[in-house]
Subunit: 232 residues, 2 copies
DNA sequence: AAATAATGACTGACTGGTCAGTCATAGTGG
DNA sequence: CCACTATGACTGACCAGTCAGTCATTATTT
């Protein structure tokens, strides 16, 4: 916690043993007619969605839970029925949005695709599944605020990043063995992702001064990396 | 405005009895012997340096000016003699640290260096002038907090980024004209910087799980980009 | 050169406003 | 009918920014 003194006072008397319904229900408006379970899941999603909006525009510290509640169409106290505290809400948000990426990327790594097709897939995956979705904002949040949440960074590294890196690395090794990409690349999968991250940062800070064609930049980069070379 | 009943303009005598003790305990960053002008400059620098530390570790919002003051060996009020407010302190910090980079990079762009030497210089410049200095922290701050300071982002874009990009771009164009680098690269100078930025982010979030050899990654990347290719 | 006055840099207790988290009370689905 | 869900006014911590007061340094007078 950022200010440990604040919440230490009251002992936590959380009795709920209920398993969290982590199923990805659609974040539609919550019809009054729906069953409790459905409404509950809807509420949770609405809160997460509202939190993403507020955290994205104001930053974690400056975001007000009152605003999150209003945006979610819920009272502030309700948030505390679904999340232990603000920090926990933040962590759940990141967790819920980024975990699903892993499977997609691992699948991409396992398919044995010809190099040009692969390059294309990587670019498209990034643009369509990240850059053009709210995942872009979540990753921006992770970049901006992650440093102050070491537990979250650790979770993210173990559950998401390490697995993605490992998948990309083995893919690069196989390609390198066939002589399709240079050896050195497999050691630094970060290099492949780098322009994507830069694009995310750029879009938040400088887009209005100098727009950036993300797809084209990614394509240029990947093609440069994967281009056939003269023998050394 | 409602005033507390006894409040007049009555000056209330409350000179601190602990004053002498406090002054004795204060770590004197600036020797009391120095002239006013010297001490003043020293104070400003001490405040900026302390602010960088506090902003870096807690983030802009969470950083307390009380802590900045303590770290600088100064009273809180003193900060307001040198900076209008917290935001202005932040802006001055970024401005003071990053503006000097421009000249260095423009000089690099103007020297007509052989490609392998140039690659080396770029990597070394980044590692020595940014990554191994506190500029790394300032850039991390810019990335993390810049979005909430549009004015600052604009200043930074105009005064720093645009000029760097322009220098790098013209350098790349000349190299492309000689056939030394691929044409596409000049359109996206961001690609060259990307791994450097990723390294800065990585070092803040994941270094403790998986250390990253920045120099080697940068070198790998630049060499891949600049490598001789088969004719297309 | 010493005494005295003027200056303005510096201090830190205090204020006003903010907001995370609580809990007494009010619904409502099963 | 009551356990579960939801509410929102409230509280206590917290902190940026203020300003009346202090005192070291510099300027002026004797």
């Amino acid at each position: 916690m950022l200010r440990p003194s604040r919440s230490r006072k009251t002992p936590i008397r959380r009795a709920s043993r209920r398993k969290r319904a982590v199923q990805a229900a659609r974040a539609a408006a919550v019809p009054a007619s729906a069953s409790r379970k459905v409404r509950s899941a809807g509420r949770r999603d609405a809160i997460l969605s509202a939190a993403l909006d507020e955290f994205s525009t104001r930053g974690f510290e400056a975001a007000r839970l009152d605003d999150v509640a209003r945006r979610a169409g819920v009272a502030k106290g309700t948030i505390y029925l679904y999340f232990r505290d603000k920090e926990s809400l933040f962590q759940e948000l990141i967790r819920a949005m980024l975990t699903p990426l892993v499977g997609t990327i691992e699948a991409l790594g396992e398919a044995e695709l010809p190099l040009p097709v692969l390059a294309d897939r990587i670019v498209e995956l990034f643009v369509r599944e990240v850059y053009e979705t709210r995942r872009k904002d979540v990753i921006r949040l992770m970049i901006s605020e992650g440093r102050r949440f070491p537990k979250l960074a650790e979770f993210y590294y173990r559950e998401v990043l390490a697995r993605i890196i490992s998948a990309v690395r083995s893919l690069l090794r196989r390609a390198a063995a066939r002589g399709e990409v240079p050896e050195g690349l497999a050691e630094f999968p970060q290099i492949i992702a780098a322009p994507g991250l830069v694009a995310i940062i750029w879009s938040g800070l400088f887009e209005r001064f100098e727009p950036l064609d993300v797809r084209k930049m990614m394509k240029t980069h990947v093609e440069l990396l994967f281009a056939p070379r003269r023998a050394t």
